[in-house]
């Protein structure tokens, strides 16, 4: 393998890893806090992309991209919170909440995807590149948009980590996630923090969708495959710490990029699943996992 090929594989792997990290972090945020799995996470990815397209694309409102991203963030947060109050909160006290919310979030996912289809139609769309041009060091080429993606994703993840660790709502959210009843007894309004977790999770999904929308063509079902990858990441890495899915995402991203080169596009998912199964056999709680779930 020549250095340029190797470089481009690693580059591709890092970009994939960054996207997976963003999606998986959102997914695990809801899982650690509420103890449920949100199957509408993939639809959030598509929704984020369409909302950003609506505001940023020259065919629609044509706002500056930064402004469009800000609007997307706000819309996604609101949608996430609303989805929580409609699809999860009514079943919170039931013993079979995990199973029920599998159905309700799947239903929510179907409704959201079809709403996207109704509103924006079946024609594929693409979000304009965030920045244009490439940077070249010797023979190694790197698009500015890829650099920006890596930087922005890492900034979002670090920001989220700092929020959870050093702010009042973040600390309260961790308390709620670790012990719902004790948190209530210490005066925390638990549903508010659940909605906050859902909102933040939707924001990370939406922003991941925006990046996916700049790389690939958008369609209402575009979130299904990234959701599957995020799921692999979360299971592969475990969720013992906030950072566990992030490390796992980059491992999976790089593994996928190398598998595509070595085994071809069609075999790459099989390699990922095989790796996940092996990890689960050896370390069932995930590569970086502990048995309890914490935030």
């Amino acid at each position: 393998m020549d250095p340029i090929t190797l470089f481009s594989i690693i580059k591709g792997g890092l970009v994939l890893g960054a996207l997976y990290a963003l999606m998986a972090t959102g997914l695990s945020l809801v899982w650690t806090t509420l103890g449920i799995f949100n199957f509408a996470h993939g639809a959030f990815i598509a929704l984020g992309a369409y909302v950003a397209w609506q505001f940023a694309s020259a065919d629609a409102y044509g706002l500056p991209l930064g402004l469009a991203l800000a609007v997307t963030t706000g819309v996604m947060f609101a949608i996430g919170a609303v989805i929580h109050f409609l699809l999860v909160k009514p079943f919170e006290r039931r013993a079979d909440v995990v199973l029920i919310t599998v159905i309700t979030t799947l239903a929510g996912s179907a409704i959201l995807e079809n709403a996207l289809l109704l509103i924006w139609g079946p024609r594929s769309k693409q979000i304009p590149e965030l920045v244009e041009g490439t940077v070249a060091v010797a023979e190694f080429q790197l698009a500015w948009s890829e650099v920006l993606l890596l930087v922005v994703v890492l900034a979002i993840l670090i920001g989220l980590g700092l929020f959870l660790r050093y702010t009042r709502p973040g600390r309260s959210m961790r308390a709620v996630s670790q012990n719902r009843e004790a948190a209530q007894l210490l005066g925390l309004d638990v549903p508010i923090y659940f909605a906050l977790a859902f909102g933040l999770s939707a924001v990370t999904a939406g922003l991941a969708g925006v990046f996916v929308g700049t790389i690939r063509f958008m369609n209402p079902a575009m979130g299904a495959e990234p959701l599957m990858k995020a799921l692999i990441v979360v299971i592969f890495g475990g969720i013992a710490r906030f950072s566990s899915p992030i490390y796992a995402a980059f491992i999976i991203g790089l593994l996928e990029a190398f598998s595509i080169y070595v085994f071809g596009l069609y075999w790459a998912p099989a390699v990922l699943f095989l790796t996940m199964i092996v990890v689960l056999l050896i370390k069932p709680e995930g590569l970086f996992g502990k048995y309890q779930r914490t935030l």
Binding site: R93, A175, Q178, A182, Q184, L186, G187, L188, D189
Partner: protein, 261 residues
């Protein structure tokens, strides 16, 4: 609404003149056909330590559950703090209104540091306070319960059981409650630790917080309680001065069974 104070029971030597701080009227909790708590009424007066005793399964912890609404409220009945009904409040609002509670098991936030455990409650109670003052207050409360200053930054899940109990109590006190409901603070503690727990309970009372104490360690309960009520199968079977109550035939029977022969 105002709740009329109960007349002191015939057995009770303690007949306080003050208005009750916390009063429960007709508290009842059904689980299907089982009456876990059945028409329980009592008053707690400011500055008092009210002990609650009773055999396992007599409804003591369920009583605390339905007062705090964590995890569920009563089937029937009413709780009032300072004459104001808590009926319409959610669990977190009850906690903020002045009724704190600790659990029998050391219920802490395991992967938060010790000081963060208390800080969560300080922040919920006083969100407008400056951050450094909030941290200072958390420190003061940890000092009050005797938590070692060198262990403030250790993860709560990693400290020994007695310290976790201290942390749980400190977090509850960080809400600046009027009354604290303590569910078996001495369970799974060693003898010397039980003595320290007694000092903590008395220090809490001395700091102006009224205490309702469930305890299986009867020596501790007898020593600190001003009054005692005894539950059996969800009902109050005796109440009054601890020495009188503990000698009551119904109480002896509830604990030891009916005497034969």
């Amino acid at each position: 609404m105002k709740v009329s104070p109960l007349r002191p029971s015939a057995a009770g030597a303690f007949a306080p003149m003050s208005e009750p701080l916390l009063s429960a009227r007709g508290l009842t909790k059904h689980f299907g056909g089982l009456k876990a708590v059945d028409d329980v009424s009592f008053d707690v007066h400011p500055g008092e330590i009210l002990g609650i005793a009773g055999p396992n399964g007599s409804g003591k912890s369920t009583l605390f559950n339905i007062i705090t609404k964590v995890p569920f409220g009563p089937t029937a009945g009413e709780v009032a703090l300072d004459g104001r009904s808590l009926g319409g409040l959610g669990a977190h609002a009850i906690a903020l209104s002045g009724v704190a509670r600790t659990f029998q098991r050391e219920n802490v936030f395991a992967s938060l540091s010790a000081v963060d455990n208390v800080l969560v409650a300080v922040e919920a109670h006083a969100p407008k306070l400056q951050f450094d003052q909030q941290v200072a207050r958390a420190g003061q409360i940890l000092d009050l319960v005797g938590y070692p200053p060198t262990m403030h930054n250790m993860l709560a899940g990693g400290v020994p059981i007695f310290y976790r109990k201290q942390l749980m109590i400190a977090s509850a006190l960080a809400l600046k409650p009027r009354v604290i409901l303590m569910d078996e603070p001495a369970s799974s503690l060693t003898g010397p630790e039980i003595d320290r727990m007694r000092d903590i309970v008395l220090a809490i009372r001395a700091s102006g917080v009224t205490v309702v104490l469930i305890e299986h360690v009867l020596s501790l309960l007898m020593e600190v309680s001003d009054r005692l009520i005894v539950l059996d199968q969800g009902r109050v079977i005796a109440s009054g001065a601890p020495r009188v109550v503990i000698a009551d035939a119904k109480v002896v029977e509830a604990y030891l069974g009916v005497a034969h022969g």
